[in-house]
Subunit: 778 residues, 2 copies
């Protein structure tokens, strides 16, 4: 009564004797051998169609069966033992490879983007492949003060006309800037359109959906990876208001997905592959910000759906590998792991929490506004003729951006450079415009607050204009058909606002240090207010408002500064920002885009608040025809086929009989069709009049009847059921936690109906007064 | 057809019309008013008995109902709106209070332990309440070199006999040291025995069990808090080989539990309270190590069971508040947040990974060995007469510890001091014995590797002895009836081993810098090997081996040093240590103690590997009598009572009829008994012959029959069911993820049996060849 790989229990006590595995593919043979086409699994059974939801329980069960088989075999021979060991370590090896590949790609992207961005302004005579900074490193003629000016680097005006200054040279440079921007953006959008339509956008909404168990074939494929890597560089270099941090998550996930094909364990199992993808999301953020811990928390908090502790540990490993790979490539030339290295000299005062919270409010308001505006714009793009001309749209936006951003030095520089400059704490030697304070006779602290000079005033005006411009242009940029991340533009908006507020506070304190609120901590000659810290807090607040990240955001920012001290301001601002933004709508930008695209995503963070019962959500509704069920015996192949063809359901419950409606199992439409087709082709005598039998033993038939088609192998004998009285909040919890596709509803032991994930999402949309038909997929 | 708080759906389409809430307590009234004793919930219905498992689904559902009610009321009046807002923010307020209270308590514990520890050696003449360091701060006569010697501080020999040096003074000091140690440990164990037996041990195994849904009344009560705080100080001061870090988690959880009583939302709901306790565990580690992020990850990885994202965010907040409270109390007098502040001057070399991995192997071996030895010792304590004399045991161990540890300066100092000294990187001015290198003529790097001098050799011998002593004594110390943490002793063992290896490597490299492995990175005059880093890696490895922590351990260590650079060695060692230790047994020390105590804990980390089916685990077994069920009508009160009394089950399924075995719902024993008792006392005419009715409408009865007892209110109409063919791995997953107490098993729509958490744990014990009766509780 035992078969070798799987133990079968002889169980004959209660009613019918029932023996069987959970699902096809993993199923062995029953003790009594009969004609069963499913002894060898039929190809295709147990796989999924594109744009469908996976069954987490089935996938995990499959993996456990696989693991059990390997473990039990490992006791038999040394080769099998080695196989078992290599299988156990394949996850770690895969993580190592993902980390190495993503780190290397991120380094390459950083270097190329830096080079192409400088290309818009000029070219290096020593070799066109040098960027501006690199070009001047080799020059002996540069001084520390003017380290970005060297004879080897020629601006376009200099190269074409020979003029280095004057309005003519300015205009030539301006034009060249626009031409390059248009060229880069044209290349980017054309490549995306031609080779990999999935390469556009940030990719995070889709990755969230995929991780929750959805299938989008090709979204993480090699073409997407290649095209996204190239076009990301082009898009960033074109000067559009977008960042490369979000798309790096997509790039890392593509790497992981491709590398999964090296290992059977991950190639064949959708659930296991998603574990790797969760880790890859952490890797993406780790290389984007040089923040491995923050990356892991980002994956945990923001992206992942199923995140077991094993994955936590592995993602941490992968994130570290990636960060160190990136550091050894050293794209920023400072052997620092982090994008913006910040060091502040002064602690903050408790009273400063007021402006920090103000920044939080600003961030929250901007986040809510941005999401609304961006979604409205994207919806317009979808519904009007605008959507038919993506290339023209990109060119117009890129041209417009270049046209407006060149005259203002703060918009001309790349987003990351801008943020870096805004975060910077002014030292006395700093020559940048933002540090254009009046030199006062120094006694004591050389970093003391000083009055603003004309340079700073100019900078403030330019920053204010940059703020307005960035706020506008980002709304139309995010969602275009080029790779585009939101992290950098959001942070830039917040950093500008924060720096403006910070300088304002500083000047207020300088001129009014006798005010009661400044007394005691902000006396003359003290370095009491750090505008760079305000910029940082503002950046966190705006990013928090847009994405609704919390812990991971604070930890990423903490990893940038390295000081635990500044966590409290960051936390206050992020918390305020989230609360304010949530008051206007509970969705972050990624969830909003998921909804816009109609993906079936069951938000794990939000509680189901309504008090409906399972019976309100299930199908069939009151007016509908009865539920389409199969009986475990007595139906012919022809009847089954006509039932399947007359409906569009993706699965059918199997019951003992139509009268009793006692549930036996559940069979998927795809498995059923494949099996019948296969049987008709291969198994002799299976015709439309053959009986379809789901029971263990075939019923006795007339001797001249065609042989029955035995389909117990594809029957899921343990379908999930809830009673009709189960509150929907519990049902939603079950769906989320177990990752179900569907669940059957019973009343007093009789089958009543079925609830699918789509039904739940439609019900939730209805409750929120949204169009239930906006949920497009199963 | 609507009642006010809860919407009831009139549903009359399928068979019997069924309306009802999920569980008692939250249940409203059906549309047809009949005599129903449960219109006002009976006190006690819906609560749990001591040493029982909670039903997470029911608790969460209760909270959602509560929330819905408050939300729906908030639209009616301003007061209700305010109530709703304050309810929403009560969680944050509670977190703030928990952080403040735990931080303050931790500060108090630190200060008192420091004072009492010094008390063993002498007393301050300025006031006995000053500790040694504090005493000498006020003295003008100390120099930097001898900052711990001042005339105000008198050793006991000096005070009693006047002699400051010589063998006589030494012996007096030695004796006083032992006397104090005995006194402190006697006080500690007596207080624990007399007032709060739950205050002993580290508390983490029990907290893990409580967080997984178990009830141990008084374990987190005020007496436990008070006694644990006091005795923790005494136990640490007595010089026993134990730490205060683990018990701080218990202290923080006690604070949280007590503060929960201020808020109805948390007082009345076991699931909500566990969210707060999870955050409190993070707070505990945060104040223990000054590592807020590490604390949150510790709670997530090691302690918590149900950790929604909202809790992540809140624990982070609470951990930060606690850390800053502790910092403002400033118990270490250095205004540092962290316990061991470490700053290393040299980077590590890739080749050093080999010794780091060696340390990992040592840590893993020691961890596995320690767990085995400690569990064997604890089992012996439980089963032999040793367990009857806890006071004598503590006194013997404390006396023995004091006797052996006084002569060796590395065992005489407290564990935290020892670790701090071992982590320290020797600078030139350092006068400690561990930095007793030979002074060589310095050219170039003043921190270069130097040859060991006589001082260092002495230190190494002492350290080796200390290592052996600590390894032995910790095995018998952990598990005694005093508060005792494992973090510090484990880290101390690892730090000693690491430092020894580090110094060894350093000397090897110094004398053999022409070896091929040292060439290129360890030339003469280079500071290439940092023994302090080895100590740190060793500490992480040993702690990892004992507790099997991974990410959280690395992050805690990272927060101690602040340098991302050192994560890789830490990670390599921790990973190796975990793998090595797991090879000898997959349980960490906390899981082993949980199992030793027979708590019903379903490990969330381990996969269920066996391929049994639900039918193998469920009750009744083949030889057992049939399942005890109630029918939805037709049973009398007397019959129900006799059925309940003749069995010990904690709940009974309710079926349509004995013949059909079609499941209607599930009723808990406790609720049933309370309701019947209540009805007999209050409701007129309920006698033993009264019918018990679980249906919506009472069946027609003879006119002279006593009025029926209607119990639909306590019936759980949505019990969880699985089919008999469901593989146990899936069933275990369902139990874990949903937090079930029991689950019913059906076959083709008929009720077959029941699986409880205890059944699963017994089954797992059986598979692992352990005694299934070691699982004591439900």
């Amino acid at each position: 009564c035992y078969s070798d790989a799987k133990r079968w229990i002889c169980y004959n006590e209660y009613g019918t004797s029932g023996v069987g595995g959970r699902a096809a593919g993993v199923n062995g043979n029953g003790p009594t051998k009969l004609v069963d086409p499913l002894e060898d699994p039929v190809p295709g059974v147990g796989t999924y169609e594109d744009f469908n939801t996976i069954d987490w329980v089935r996938e995990k069960s499959k993996d456990r069966d696989r693991h059990r088989e390997i473990t039990s075999k490992s006791r038999q021979s040394t080769v099998a033992l080695l196989h078992s060991v290599s299988d156990a370590f394949s996850g770690w090896l895969l993580m190592l490879l993902v980390g190495l590949m993503s780190g290397a790609l991120a380094g390459g992207i950083d270097i190329s983007a830096h080079w192409l961005t400088d290309m818009k302004e000029g070219v290096c005579l020593n070799g066109f492949w040098f960027n501006h900074e690199h070009c001047c490193w080799t020059s002996n003629e540069t001084t520390f003060q003017e380290r970005d000016r060297c004879p080897q680097w020629k601006s376009w005006a200099e190269l074409i006309t020979g003029a280095t200054e004057g309005p003519f040279a300015y205009i030539v440079n301006y034009l060249m800037y626009i031409v390059w921007a248009l060229l880069f953006s044209f290349l980017a959008v054309t490549l995306v359109r031609a080779f990999a339509p999935y390469a556009c956008g940030s990719g995070i909404p889709e990755i969230k959906t995929i991780l929750s168990g959805f299938i989008i074939r090709g979204y993480l494929g090699k073409w997407t990876l290649i095209i996204k890597t190239i076009t990301l560089v082009l898009a960033v270099s074109s000067g559009l208001s977008l960042g490369k941090e979000g798309p790096l998550v997509h790039v890392a996930c593509c790497c992981a997905n491709i590398l999964c094909h090296l290992f059977t364990k991950y190639r064949k199992n959708e659930a296991k592959r998603r574990e790797v993808l969760s880790a890859a999301a952490a890797v993406g953020v780790s290389v984007a910000f040089g923040a491995p811990i923050g990356g892991v928390l980002f994956s945990l908090e923001e992206v992942s759906y199923y995140f077991p502790l094993k994955t936590l540990w592995r993602s941490f490993f992968a994130a570290l590998v990636a960060a160190f790979t990136l550091r050894s490539i050293n794209p920023f030339g400072n052997s620092r792991l982090v994008l913006f290295y910040v060091e502040f000299h002064a602690p903050w005062h408790l009273l400063e929490l007021a402006p920090f919270i103000l920044l939080g409010i600003f961030g929250g308001l901007w986040g809510a506004l941005f999401i609304r505006a961006n979604i409205a714009w994207c919806r317009r793009r979808k519904s009007t003729r605008l959507g038919h001309y993506p290339i023209i749209e990109v060119l117009v936006v890129a041209g417009f951006t270049a046209l407006l951003s060149y005259p203002n030095s703060y918009t001309r520089m790349s987003g990351a450079e801008l943020i870096s400059e805004l975060f910077n704490d002014c030292s006395l030697l700093d020559s940048s415009q933002l540090c254009g304070y009046q030199q006062v006779s120094c006694v004591g602290n050389t970093l003391a607050d000083r009055p603003a000079g004309p340079g700073l005033y100019t900078a403030l005006w330019q920053l204010a204009l940059a703020l307005v411009f960035k706020m506008m242009i980002t709304v139309v940029t995010f969602g275009m058909k080029v790779p585009s991340g939101l992290f950098i533009p959001s942070m830039a908006v917040g950093a500008i606002a924060g720096r403006l507020l910070g300088v304002g506070m500083e000047q207020l304190a300088y001129y009014n240090h006798d005010w009661i609120i400044f007394k005691g901590w902000c006396s003359p000659g003290a370095d009491c207010i750090t505008p760079g810290l305000y910029a940082m807090v503002g950046a966190a607040a705006c990013l928090g408002g847009v994405t609704r990240m919390t812990v991971s955001l604070v930890v990423i920012m903490f990893e940038l500064t390295g000081g635990l001290e500044y966590i409290v301001p960051l936390m206050a601002a992020t918390m305020t920002s989230k609360w304010v933004a949530d008051a206007f709508g509970r969705e972050g930008i990624y969830e909003a885009h998921i909804r816009l695209n109609g993906y079936p995503f069951l938000e794990p963070k939000e509680e189901f608040e309504h008090n409906s019962l399972a019976v309100d959500v299930m199908r069939p509704r009151r007016a509908d025809p009865a539920l389409a069920v199969l009986t475990q015996e007595g139906m012919t192949v022809g009847e089954v086929e006509s039932l399947v063809e007359s409906t569009h359901y993706s699965g059918f419950p199997v019951v003992v009989s139509q009268e009793s409606q006692r549930l036996v199992g559940f069979v998927l439409r795809r498995d059923l069709l494949i099996s019948i087709d296969n049987a008709r082709q291969r198994q002799e005598g299976v015709v439309s009049a053959s009986q379809v039998v789901f029971t263990e033993h075939a019923p006795s038939q007339a001797p001249d009847a065609p042989p029955p088609l035995r389909l117990r192998g594809i029957l899921d004998l343990s379908p999930f059921t809830v009673t009709d009285h189960t509150p929907m909040d519990i049902t939603v919890d079950i769906f989320r936690k177990l990752g179900l596709r569907q669940c059957l509803v019973t009343h007093n032991g009789r089958l009543l109906g079925i609830i699918t994930k789509k039904d739940i999402l439609k019900h939730m949309a209805q409750i929120a007064n949204r169009d239930p038909d906006s949920i497009l997929f199963n």
